[in-house]
Symmetry: C2
Subunit: 358 residues, 2 copies
């Protein structure tokens, strides 16, 4: 590589489609001039927007297709009928090594099944999970799964714990990240059977993280652990609830500060501080869910994001690609598998983890 | 009744036990002098604290027991072995019409099984749910279940929708409250089978609320609907995540405002506004989960609450009791059941809702 990183973009994904994707790519390029783009989608819609960004235009190629995956489409249908869709072609570009990573704001389920089918899972992983960084009281926390797998058995949760730990190690530089299973109480007897089973396995195996037990919803923003593991349904609800609460508080803060002239004057004086807080909590700053466990860097942007959020998802994907993230994840997982064979610590009564993980 | 309302208190529940319960009762009494208390628990621990509050002391009777339910105890074990526990005796007082309602900060699971066993469910309800009010962008929203039932089938979710609607109608005065099922997308195809099934039923039956479809985590604080229906696991995680995010933002706001002298000055000027925001978002203001569907007013206070939070839970319970909440809920549910029989709108392919609801 010439120092360039090529990003495959699904221009038709997300609520705003090319209206967010193209200006987002322009913003990402202005931050990192080494980026190059393959833009997949409807040329007629892309070109007029792209023309407004001459620098981006000369760093990009458009690959036209008039097929795209709608947000209502069932993943299986998208997989069968969407072979020429912008999403699928963008994923193909990563599989064919034409691009270093792919970013899409489109249908999450379709993106997941396509990525899994085309890029395949890393050895040892059954089902990929969506992971993202979240702001906390301390360092940022990795949470997964955020919506790829609605129901997860114990073996999947254990795999997510391993994936999340490796991710935290590679991306956040934590040597031995702490891992918690999301539950509705910290006592051993609480929660679904899958969670209790996963806890029993994580207490026994050696993996790149350190399992510290159950965590509750309020422990996520407190930063109690480096990695929060949960099923995709719960993770998605928790993430979106957190976003909604941030918005609500910002709204109420604004209202309170406008309620009296004195408060308004105070707000003007504290403007800079309030703005830095706003930036710190901006969900656009945390946009970009990595498909952990897929053999290739595939990042999902939140469908409702504007160009600023989309630019952050591109930046996130390009950093992961630049750091050879997936090669490192694969190496770490292989090591876990070897250790497990050597240690042979799982007893017969348990879930046959090795069969599922390896 | 002489205009007095008698509250049965489980003095041993919650992280602080009588240290929060007794001062909390004193605070609630200072707000409403019509309250009377039956305080169940260890006299040796209760008396020294109660002595500090002479007014409360003369409005209370202590019913001594040295048994209590610990937070680690399994609900089934608590039910069998806790017949003389402070929690159980307090519930008995409601069943025996000695008290108008019960408040406990203790083991949620144990409180639920005991309340169900002793007070019984309202006709038509299989499983009670914990409901609470949450602050939103608009009016307050009712969310249930917040932790009583980890797994819920479609019929239970439908019952929760009915219970939540009646609750919203009676307590919040909404004529036809809007109801949403919590899911990870608003499209029909999203989510678990139970949710999709419940949606299909709610679209067909006539009940005191208006079913408007799926809602996502971010819709809760936005106040998109008056009633959010979900299973107890998801609801508990969403509620606690929301609490944690509030705390995180308050912490960051404080930090930002202290970061520069100018911001600090601004914060002093805006002090009153910031304090009113803090009060509005204070989780203690929203403390108190109602066990909807049990035949009696039973309110669960958050285990970690101090006396201010506990006082709010008492106030909440006493208001529900004063408004004859349960009688009205029972009447509304009976009406739903009659309508269903008349309409006979459920087709054979569906979950036999009437058998489960009625």
């Amino acid at each position: 590589m010439s120092g360039h990183l090529t990003i495959a973009l699904d221009a038709m994904g997300g609520d705003l489609g090319p209206e967010a994707v193209i200006p987002g790519a322009a913003l990402a390029l202005s931050r990192n001039s080494d980026l190059r783009f393959m833009i997949f989608g409807d040329e007629l819609k892309i070109t007029p927007i792209l023309e407004k960004f001459p620098k981006l235009s000369s760093a990009s190629q458009i690959i036209h297709t008039d097929q795209f995956v709608s947000s209502e489409e069932k993943p299986g249908v998208a997989l069968r009928n969407g072979r020429k869709s912008s999403m699928r072609l963008a994923i193909n570009a990563v599989a064919d090594k034409q691009a270093d990573c792919i970013v899409s704001g489109g249908n999450t389920g379709a993106l997941m099944v396509m990525a899994k089918m085309v890029l395949k899972c890393l050895p040892g992983i059954d089902r990929p999970a969506i992971a993202s960084l979240l702001p906390t009281m301390g360092k940022e926390t990795v949470m997964l799964d955020l919506g790829a797998n609605l129901e997860c058995d114990a073996a999947m949760l254990v795999q997510f714990a391993i994936l999340g730990s490796v991710y935290s190690r590679v991306v956040r530089g934590h040597d031995q990240p702490t891992v918690g299973l999301l539950n509705i109480g910290s006592e051993d007897m609480k929660g679904h059977d899958e969670i209790k089973e996963a806890a029993a396995i994580l207490q026994q195996i050696k993996f790149p993280g350190k399992y510290i037990g159950f965590v509750e919803g309020n422990d996520i923003p407190m930063g109690k652990v480096d990695v929060v593991v949960t099923d995709g349904f719960t993770g998605n609800v928790a993430l979106k609830t957190a976003e909604g609460v941030s918005k609500l508080i910002a709204h109420m803060l604004k209202k309170s500060l406008k309620a009296s002239p004195l408060a308004f004057l105070g707000a003007i004086l504290a403007q800079k501080a309030l703005k830095s807080l706003k930036n710190e909590m901006d969900p656009r700053e945390y946009n970009g869910g990595m498909f952990l466990g897929v053999d290739g860097v595939c990042v999902k942007s939140h469908g409702g994001m504007d160009h600023v959020g989309f630019a952050n998802a591109i930046q996130y994907a390009s950093e992961l690609a630049a750091r050879n993230f997936n090669v490192r994840v694969a190496a770490e997982i292989a090591e876990v598998m070897i250790q497990e064979k050597e240690l042979n610590i799982l007893n017969a009564e348990q879930e046959p983890l090795k069969e599922k993980v390896s």
